[in-house]
């Protein structure tokens, strides 16, 4: 081996350790970047062709620049993200619905309903009184307002979910396009930074819907959703949203644009949004409607058969056309003239209160789907409450799972400053040592050259 080849060893060491320090400083700079996977330089021994002592090494060279990945944790994380986002989204939306339906303080529908029944009993104590009739009319109007209000605010809330659904679907399509671009680039070059951004995009996507990811050796990905291709090579199936506005309570369908196929959305924030929009809110509104229709029907039945002080009968208390909570209102005739309110039955004198009493007693009768009206409403509130409770509980357990997986992933792919700093010191010393080699070889050459 010649002296000049020893120079080569020195030179190669310098450049190898320089690139090692490069990579380390890159790692340090990105220590707090959550989307960054730690790079590692593998240094390998270079072997030499025949020399004096047989095969000697000829230095070091950097082999591969590797991204350290924890594949299992990555895929599991993408899967569990979908569950976490779904429960987070459901919980947040349902909490808003619960506050619309009111808690057990005054002003909520429960207490307004109680006040309505009680006003009938007050009238039953003094059935000839006009003042108490006005009071019954007032409580009736309050009940109608409360029903209308609750229904309308819930409907408005459903409307507010619409733009969220649309923008989520737009985001999904946008990420799809970006991933297609990255796929194209990865086909030609092998860029670790591109792969980092690819993974970040996939993580973002996994929070929106439930996806399956397949990765090729060169880094290109195919993404499947509901068994169908979302992205593959350069092909993307975009999603679109259809709103069914036939009735006031709308429904939504998320379909693939080209085939119009509607996949089942099992996870992700989209699942939470669509489930609340299509299932939960309509069923709560349905229950409210049932309550309204049954109360109006039964009160009207008793009231129309009753007589007021002047002897008028056949007047409905609530409007004829009550088909739901939004059309729940009082008979306009009574609003104008509360003396029409009936208190007694056919053959009874004006001091009798039998009709007023029986209307008061409706609150104990199982008039709404085999339950008393206030029990029915309390049940509705409990159902909403348990839905929230469930979502909350599942969210918490998903949070623990994803935390765990993140930790596993970071263990391998994260940057530890302690480790990088140590390596920095190590490489620097090696760099200095390599410089020393060059110095020594230089002196050897000088010695040789100074031979006469």
């Amino acid at each position: 081996m010649s002296i000049s080849s020893m120079f080569e060893i020195g030179r190669r060491s310098l450049s190898a350790y320089k690139s090692a320090i490069d990579v380390t400083s890159g790692n340090i700079a990105n220590a707090n970047n959550p989307g960054y996977t730690r790079r590692r330089v593998d240094l390998r021994n270079l072997t030499q062709t025949n020399g004096v002592l047989g095969r000697l090494g000829s230095g070091v060279a950097p082999a591969d620049l590797m991204r350290t990945r924890q594949r299992f944790a990555e895929t599991a994380l993408w899967r569990e993200n979908a569950g976490l986002s779904k429960y987070q989204q459901s919980e947040a939306l349902l909490q808003q619905v619960e506050s619309i339906f009111g808690d057990s303080s005054s002003g909520g529908l429960s207490s307004v309903l109680s006040e309505f029944w009680n006003s009938w009993n007050d009238l039953a104590n003094d059935p000839e009184s006009d003042a108490l009739r006005s009071l019954v009319k007032n409580k009736g109007q309050l009940l109608a307002d409360s029903m209308n209000n609750t229904y309308n605010r819930t409907l408005q809330f459903q409307q507010q979910v619409k733009p969220q659904i649309t923008s989520t679907v737009n985001d999904i399509n946008r990420i799809g396009r970006q991933l297609i671009n990255i796929n194209k680039e990865l086909r030609v070059s092998d860029n670790p930074d591109l792969m980092d951004s690819r993974d970040q995009l996939i993580t973002e996507l996994s929070k929106m819907i439930n996806i399956n990811v397949k990765e090729k050796d060169n880094g290109e990905v195919s993404i499947f959703f509901g068994g169908y291709i979302l992205i593959s090579d350069t092909k993307q199936n975009e999603l679109s949203v259809n709103y069914n506005t036939d009735s006031a309570v709308q429904s939504v369908g998320v379909v693939f644009k080209d085939s119009n196929y509607e996949p089942e959305i099992e996870g992700g924030s989209l699942a939470g949004l669509v489930d609340t929009f299509n299932n939960k809110v309509p069923s709560y509104l349905d229950s409210l409607d049932t309550l309204a229709v049954n109360v109006a029907e039964k009160v009207n039945e008793l009231h129309a058969a009753g007589y007021n002080v002047a002897g008028t009968t056949g007047v409905n208390f609530f409007d004829d056309g009550v088909s739901g909570a939004s059309s729940f209102r009082m008979n306009a005739a009574i609003v104008e003239d509360p003396t029409l309110i009936a208190t007694r039955a056919a053959t009874e004198g004006v001091g009798s209160n039998s009709v007023a009493e029986s209307i008061f007693n409706l609150q104990f009768d199982t008039i709404v789907e085999n339950q008393a009206p206030s029990d029915f409403f309390t049940n509705l509130l409990s159902v909403i409450g348990s839905d929230i409770d469930n979502a909350s509980f599942l969210r918490e357990s998903q949070e623990l799972i994803t935390q765990n997986l993140q930790t596993q992933k970071d263990q391998v792919a994260g940057v530890s400053l302690d480790e990088e700093m140590t390596k920095l010191v190590q490489y620097e010393q090696a760099y200095q040592a390599a410089a020393k080699i060059i110095n020594t070889v230089d002196q050897m050459l000088e010695t040789v050259l100074s031979l006469r």
Binding site: Q95, E98, S104, N125, S416
Partner: protein, 293 residues
């Protein structure tokens, strides 16, 4: 195990966030006094508390019913007692008129007095309370349900009872209808007395004594009935008030926060949180850079 910067900060933030959330919940419970503010806090306890609230509100309504009925019933009872007094005085007149030593003049004077007793009885039975006729049955808007025409009293009201509800299946009548009073025969007896006094007919007068006695007994029966209602109401009132106290304490158990427990939890959480903060600060600060030359 490798520990990286992002791991450290993420875990620390997560744990700190959890402690904070726990403290927030406790503070919420203390300041509102309730453990269950909405259904999602505890659905089963919530529906239990709601049911009790409904029952308590209903009982309060019944108590209001009792308040408004008690006055009417007491008024009825005292009117009936006055009427009984009149009957006793009429009997006295009859006794004096039946005395063999009475003559036409005395009997005439007695007849005049009995007439004014009759007028008094008429005004008693035509009483109004809060603009309603007390003894007209359910025809409470008739101003004078009893009319007298030449000594004969007739009744224009009806015989229906008015009832009030004091519990889910408990209704009690609160009135004495005029027909029952007519049925005691008191007015017929008094008319007969006046006629026989004017006619100076000792035998007829003696006959009315029995009629007045029968009428008086029946009247006592009606009065006693009305009086029983009053005491029944008092019993029901006591029961309702006691039930409400019990219901309120059950409801409180289900939904209210126990301040002593919450405050102790709060202090414990506060200490854990402070400890967590201090340790996090120390750990995050430590790294090898501080020790490299």
């Amino acid at each position: 195990m490798r520990v990286t910067q992002t791991m450290l900060s993420r875990n620390a933030l997560y744990r700190l966030g959890q402690r904070r959330e726990a403290m927030d919940d406790i503070q919420n419970r203390i300041s509102s006094g309730r453990r269950v503010q909405k259904a999602s806090d505890d659905p089963t306890a919530f529906s239990r508390a709601e049911r009790m609230t409904t029952r308590i509100t209903q009982n309060e309504q019944y108590l209001r019913n009792i308040d408004s009925s008690e006055a009417w019933i007491d008024n009825t009872v005292s009117l009936m007692q006055s009427l009984s007094e009149v009957v006793i005085q009429a009997k006295d007149m009859a006794n004096r008129g039946a005395d063999g030593q009475a003559d036409a003049n005395i009997r005439n004077t007695l007849a005049d007095q009995t007439e004014s007793l009759l007028q008094e009885a008429m005004s008693i039975v035509n009483s109004q309370y809060l603009n309603k006729s007390v003894f007209a049955g359910s025809d409470t808007q008739i101003k004078n349900p009893f009319v007298e025409n030449a000594g004969v009293v007739s009744y224009l009201g009806n015989d229906q009872s008015m009832s009030r509800q004091y519990s889910e299946n408990v209704s009690i009548e609160i009135n004495v209808d005029g027909q029952s009073i007519m049925d005691t025969g008191v007015f017929d007896a008094m008319s007969d007395l006046i006629t026989s006094l004017r006619a100076n007919d000792e035998n007829a007068i003696r006959a009315t004594i029995d009629d007045l006695k029968t009428a008086g007994d029946k009247m006592l029966g009606l009065t006693a009935l009305a009086g029983t209602r009053s005491s029944n109401l008092r019993l029901i009132r006591n029961r309702l008030e006691q039930t409400n106290i019990d219901l309120e304490s059950f409801r409180s158990e289900a939904r209210d926060a126990r301040l002593d427990k919450e405050i102790v939890s709060f202090q414990t959480e506060q200490i854990s949180y402070q400890a967590a903060l201090q340790v996090t600060a120390k750990t995050i600060n430590l790294n090898i850079l501080q020790y490299l030359g």
